[in-house]
């Protein structure tokens, strides 16, 4: 059944440095409760908002990613609703219809679908820069039942970018790909660290042919975006196939029980009393455009297409592009003599894989060596100084443990020596070789042990020895089979 999906993504500009209208920290997570606050973000009487230039520039850079029409001046709007976590009982946002002017008056965005390697187009309806509310905790249940509400205003006033798409997304999986690529793009322009807890939230609209639009609120991860939409797709499909009707409603994604639940009926537009904020004169965009443009120099798509043009496979290129630091490393390590594919493999497959094995954060630049180290590794293989297996099997895993280590100190015995030793061991242990070839696998462990003993204390990876042994012995077996 055909479906239409539209998304509303709220992304915190965690790297804006300050909150949107005051000097408090944009990354509130490290603070004790209600420590990252001031009169402005507490909405105290007489405190005045002053727009953060950096947040506006980041929002403009985002608008440029989306090929938006950008107005000459942006105008902030007050949106009124009473809520415990909203200290002024209005949110400063942008709303075109009430005299406001958002940073984007409509645009278009292409995201990569890694299932098909297609670039898919989504129309962007609008982009708002607004303040995040505080966080409420209801110690005795819900807003209706609880006698108390505890509010932490550390988050209050953090710059939030609201990105609203047209219903152009064809499937739950594509929705996930969109959000992932969107976050990656915003990370590349220095706007957000999407891995911080609560750095983004997604509301999703989905409608099936013959049904009304249903909104799913408050989805917290890209994985959940796919799951929630898939659930909702199946629920609506079943309903329609059984002659039922899908009514227009708002539902909530219960991530624990993995179902959507009705939240409230959206019968009429709510009354928000929109009004341009009289404390905030229009912000002229022209003087900020060039600074915003500087942030667009490197976007994921540029890096991806540049890499694939050098012959790097799409899978490996995508693996690198997904980690901004890895992409940066790749660009710095690649010189005219370096094999681009080998370099990409070392960075995007072997090293990244080794970090994951060690459960280290692939996004932490401190977990990566200098670009010259990778260049050297490629050179070793290209000149034949070491076989590929020695680098991927021995050097890279060790490097991942300590990326700042001196490369010389972890290089193994020259591969030619190891192979010589292996041939000697094979010659000296015919019985074990025969046992192995006739199917007794344990004999291999014995042979590995013999090789390591002969090599001595020199650092060598048993896995490499094992692989080399298997390779040589397999050759041996094939020769015997041909002969018989």
């Amino acid at each position: 059944m055909k479906m239409k999906i539209g998304l509303e993504v709220h992304v915190q500009l965690t790297r804006a440095g300050t909150k949107l209208f005051c000097g408090c920290d944009s990354d509130y997570r490290v603070y004790a409760t209600n420590e990252n606050v001031c009169p402005v973000c507490l909405g105290l009487p007489g405190a005045l908002p002053v727009p953060s230039k950096k947040a506006v520039i980041l929002a403009l850079a985002a608008a440029m990613i989306f090929n938006c029409r950008i107005p000459d001046a942006i105008v902030f709007t007050r949106k009124h609703y009473f809520y415990p976590d909203l200290p002024k009982n209005y949110q400063i946002t942008q709303y075109e219809k009430a005299g406001g002017a958002p940073v984007c008056l409509g645009g278009e965005f292409e995201y990569l679908d890694p299932d098909t390697w297609e670039w898919r187009k989504v129309r962007i309806r609008r982009l708002n820069l607004e303040e995040d509310p505080g966080r409420s905790v209801y110690p005795e249940g819900s807003i209706v039942t609880s006698r108390h509400v505890l509010v932490d205003y550390n988050r209050s006033g953090v710059p939030l970018l609201e990105i609203v798409t047209e219903p152009d997304i064809p499937s739950p999986r594509a929705a996930r790909a969109f959000v992932e690529y969107l976050l990656l793009s915003l990370e590349y322009i220095g706007a957000v660290n999407p891995r911080l807890e609560g750095a983004f939230r997604v509301d999703a609209n989905i409608s099936l042919e013959g049904g009304e639009r249903v909104e799913i609120k408050n989805i917290g991860s890209t994985y959940e975006v796919e799951k929630a939409l898939l659930y909702e797709y199946k629920r609506q499909k079943l309903l329609l196939e059984n002659g039922g009707q899908v009514k227009r409603e708002t539902r909530h994604w219960d991530a624990v029980r993995r179902v959507t639940k009705p939240l409230r009926h959206k019968e009429e537009e709510e009354e928000y009393l929109y009004m341009p904020d009289p404390d905030l004169p229009p912000v002229l965009t022209r003087p900020l455009i060039s600074e915003a443009k500087e942030r667009l120099v490197t976007l994921p798509r540029h890096v991806f297409e540049w890499m694939t043009s050098k012959g790097v496979s799409r899978e490996v290129a995508w693996s690198i592009v997904q980690v901004q630091h890895a992409a940066q490393l790749y660009k710095e390590a690649l010189t005219s003599g370096t094999d681009p594919r080998l370099l990409a493999r070392f960075i995007g497959v072997d090293y990244k894989g080794a970090l994951k094995d060690l459960q280290k954060d692939v996004h932490d630049p401190g977990n990566w060596p200098e670009p010259a180290v990778f260049r050297k590794l490629v050179e070793y293989v290209q000149t034949g100084a070491y076989p590929l297996e020695a680098i991927t099997g021995i050097v890279i895993p060790k490097l991942a443990v300590n990326p700042q280590v001196n490369l010389e100190s972890i290089l193994p015995e020259k591969a030619s020596n190891v192979e010589e030793v292996i041939r000697i061991v094979i010659k000296e242990n015919r019985k074990a070789v025969n046992d192995y070839l006739s199917g007794r696998r344990k004999a291999l462990d014995y042979l590995v042990g013999q090789v390591i003993r002969k090599v001595g204390k020199k650092a060598i990876d048993p896995r490499t020895v094992r692989e080399l042994l298997i390779k040589i012995l397999t050759g041996e077996r094939e020769r015997r089979e041909r002969n018989s």
Partner: protein, 475 residues
């Protein structure tokens, strides 16, 4: 009558003596007049006065060393409660100082206390204070004008030398007119609003009040200036006190607004005309002009002010501003209870009307239309003030008697007929006394082009010479 400015210049100002005399008047009259909501402790103030005297003796006085200043109670002070005249904020003491308060303290001023006012500055008579009405020292049966009622009254009975008010639609100038004091509504953006509890942000300014033009200019010099933490603050030309002098009447062009004159009481028109005729006799070029948008200024002003008020006052819920006395089972019930109980009648009226004019389906007809008419008014005023000082009576009537107007909102709002224009247009406006009669004082209002404060002060100095009403006081 010597001004505070002259006394400071000649070294005749003795802070301890000034404070003791002022304190004696406060002790004698404050109970009747009710100009203050909070007065700071005698001993603390006395110590500050002594320190100021020492500084003067050691030859290092600052611009307002030891000068006694009253601050309207909607301007934040970190050491004194700031109530905005409302029960809603009766327990509120801000954690920070308003920009203008910082400037006063830096200049060596002594802040005596926080003055009474109409709740959240919504009122023209001072009667809508949750802390009781202020009485007019010139006639205790009459109102002192509002909403900066306490600042006007405190100056009139010499409880202080200078005072800060705020002016959203005439709230400095009406009390000025009714208490025979001087007050300036500055150019929009000239004085930082940081720390001013907002009523209608796009209209209001904090401004200086005093008993003479030069003292008003002195206080203006201290509080004006660019504040990067107020996004509506503007870098202006500033003002040189030494340069101020009575305007040369032969170079003065005055435009009198016919519509305001026609709507004013006989006695008011008489006093006003006497001054204008003297100016003309001295060589001023006097023109009687029509302000075509005059008939729209009141509705335009009240629609915009109420819309902004409804928005600004949304923050006062049961959360942090109630004194802990009202506890309801749910947050929503608590909100309703707190807002019903702790806001006064006029405030609730304006919130209700503000919500109405912003509502879906009405916004275009009321709020959006009003912002358009506002631009029309502004353009007309900017055109007139390009080469003319606009003059009119400040209030169409003399101070009403207590209780005379509060039950009829429309007759109350009509008091602002002449004053709201300057707020809609963002231009500066100066009020100064021109007569004191048995029916109470009468004031003149002068409006100039944006940043025309110097012209206003110079014209004011000239009028002071004509009327002789410099430094007058009651009681």
């Amino acid at each position: 009558m010597t001004t505070i400015y002259q006394q400071l210049q000649t070294g005749d100002y003795d802070p301890v003596e000034a404070f003791e005399k002022a304190w004696e008047r406060i002790t004698r009259h404050e109970k009747t007049v009710n100009a203050f909501i909070t007065i700071d402790d005698y001993n603390k103030l006395r110590v500050k006065a002594e320190e100021a005297s020492k500084r003067i003796r050691s030859g290092e006085p600052r611009l307002l060393e030891g000068v006694l200043v009253a601050v309207k109670d909607n301007i934040s002070t970190s050491w004194l409660p700031t109530t905005a005249g409302s029960r809603m904020l009766s327990c509120y003491q801000p954690p920070y100082n308003a920009y203008v308060v910082e400037r006063l303290l830096e200049a060596g001023a002594i802040i005596v206390g926080k003055t009474n006012m109409d709740e959240f500055a919504m009122g023209s008579t001072g009667e809508f204070s949750a802390f009781g009405p202020t009485r007019n020292p010139w006639d205790l049966e009459r109102v002192p004008g509002g909403s900066s009622s306490g600042s006007g009254a405190a100056l009139a009975y010499r409880a202080v030398d200078l005072a800060l008010g705020s002016d959203t639609g005439g709230s400095i100038r009406l009390p000025g007119a009714y208490t025979a004091t001087v007050g300036l509504k500055p150019t929009y953006g000239a004085v930082s609003r940081r720390g001013l509890i907002p009523y209608a942000n796009s209209l209001e300014q904090i401004g200086p009040m005093a008993r003479s033009v030069i003292d008003t200019a002195l206080l203006y010099k201290v509080i004006s200036g660019y504040d990067p933490l107020d996004a509506t603050s503007i870098k202006g030309p500033g003002i040189e006190l030494e340069r101020l002098q009575p305007a040369d009447p032969s170079k003065l062009k005055i435009c009198v607004i016919k519509e305001v004159l026609e709507a004013s009481q006989k006695q008011v028109v008489a006093a006003f005309t006497r001054v204008i005729e003297k100016l003309e006799a001295n060589g001023a070029d006097v023109n009687y002009v029509s302000l075509k948008s005059q008939r729209y200024v009141l509705p335009t002003y009240y629609i915009i002010a109420m819309a902004e008020a409804a928005s600004n006052l949304a923050r006062y819920d049961g959360g942090i501003y109630n004194c802990g006395s009202l506890k309801m089972p749910t947050w929503e019930e608590q909100n309703i209870r707190v807002r019903s109980m702790l806001f006064g009648r006029e405030v609730k009226r304006r919130i209700a009307m503000g919500v109405f004019v912003l509502s879906e389906g009405y916004r275009d007809e009321y709020y959006v239309l009003a912002t358009r008419v506002r631009r029309m008014v502004r353009d007309e005023v900017l055109g007139l003030t390009r080469d003319c000082i606009i003059a009119s009576p400040t209030s169409p009537v003399q101070p009403p008697r207590l209780g005379e107007r509060i039950s009829d909102p429309l007759s109350l709002y009509a008091l602002d007929l002449a004053t709201v224009t300057a707020n809609l247009a963002g231009v500066p406006a100066l009020q100064l006394p021109i007569a004191t009669t048995s029916e109470g004082p009468v004031g003149i209002q002068l409006m100039a082009r944006p940043w025309g404060e110097e012209d206003l002060f110079n014209t004011g100095l000239l009028i002071e010479e004509i009327t002789g009403l410099r430094g007058v006081y009651a009681l």
